[in-house]
Amino acid sequence: MEAVIQRAKELLEQGEVKAVLGYAKGTGSARRPHFARQAGQLDKLVMDEACVQNLAVYVTKHEVKKLGKVAVVALPVTQRAILQLMAERQLRDGSLAILAVDDGAVKELDSASALEEHLALKAQVLNAKDKASLADLEAMDQGQRWAYWQKELSRCMKCYACRNTCPMCYCDHCTMDCNRPQWVPVASHGIGNLEYHMVRTMHLAGRCVECGDCGRACPVGIPVHLLTIGAEETVHELFGQRAGHKAKLDYALSTFKTDDKESFIR
């Protein structure tokens, strides 16, 4: 962590960045995001196993963009999210200083191409727990899956924490907030919850970087991340592309190949 703080200090003092975004101690063992705008605030930064949040969610906010160039302490998921945001033209190439901390040593990545190269070094691996949960879901029959999701989603109160914590959910105008026409009912009753989660999943298919923050953000413990990760894996299987690995990526659902293979259209 000292190396990160040292480098961040240099960047701040030389005026290369206006702020450093990293993790600081939160309540109990939790870690919270921390913006250091002066060198004196840098010693609050921590880096350990408990730092899991995808900080890329902050870098598209107007308040943060307004600051100017920001340095971000970036885990691999954060790096993928930032690269995907660049591919979707939500961030300008070179608008962030990315301090990659995945190998213990600090690596500074300033451009989309540097990020791409860095990410290509390591294969993206789904964690064992999510992999097992997805396999369990796959093994259920249709009725069991329906019952499983109905039971889980019955706890949903539509707080939209899963949406708000997602770095890819950056739209100023979200379908969920649109009431003319109102496609998805606002209330958190059966059909409102079901349609919300279906739409969220579809909107993230081909764009999800599989950080799992949506599941972690859920206050009632619904494994909503399984839906988006599952959809992302589907896109990878069907179309052979993954979000967050390329600086230029055509969104899977707005492009096509004439030989896309399916077996269910009669």
Partner: protein, 110 residues
């Protein structure tokens, strides 16, 4: 059966399918021109990709996919269209009302 006319399969938002089920439909046919036959050049190719992802998502959610039929039928295939509609309506009648889904529509509404 109720027909919803759209200009192209590319216009078929998956929300329309969800809304049909929400409004109490027991089965849905999603249909349009064959690939390579698109008036708008590539609408059905885009639609095909969307349906591939949508179908998988619906399966993961546990929706009964016997109730949603995807089929390519061109405007010149009147007989094929009639046959498809007859087949699907028979099939959906045999399945009966989609009670699982209807329970969810009513759930949580006092």
């Amino acid at each position: 059966m109720r027909v919803l006319r759209v200009p192209c399969t590319g216009r078929i938002d998956y929300m329309m399918v969800l809304k049909a089920l929400h409004k109490g439909a027991d089965g849905v046919i999603v249909s349009g021109c064959h690939p390579n036959d698109c008036h708008y050049t590539s609408g059905n190719y885009h639609a095909r990709r969307r349906w591939m992802v949508f179908k998988k998502m619906m399966e993961v959610m546990g929706v009964d996919m016997r109730r949603i039929t995807f089929s390519w039928v061109s405007a010149a295939e009147g007989a094929r269209w009639a046959q498809l509609v007859n087949e699907v309506t028979d099939q959906v009648r045999a399945l009966g009302p989609y009670t699982e889904f209807r329970q969810v529509i009513g759930a949580g509404i006092e």
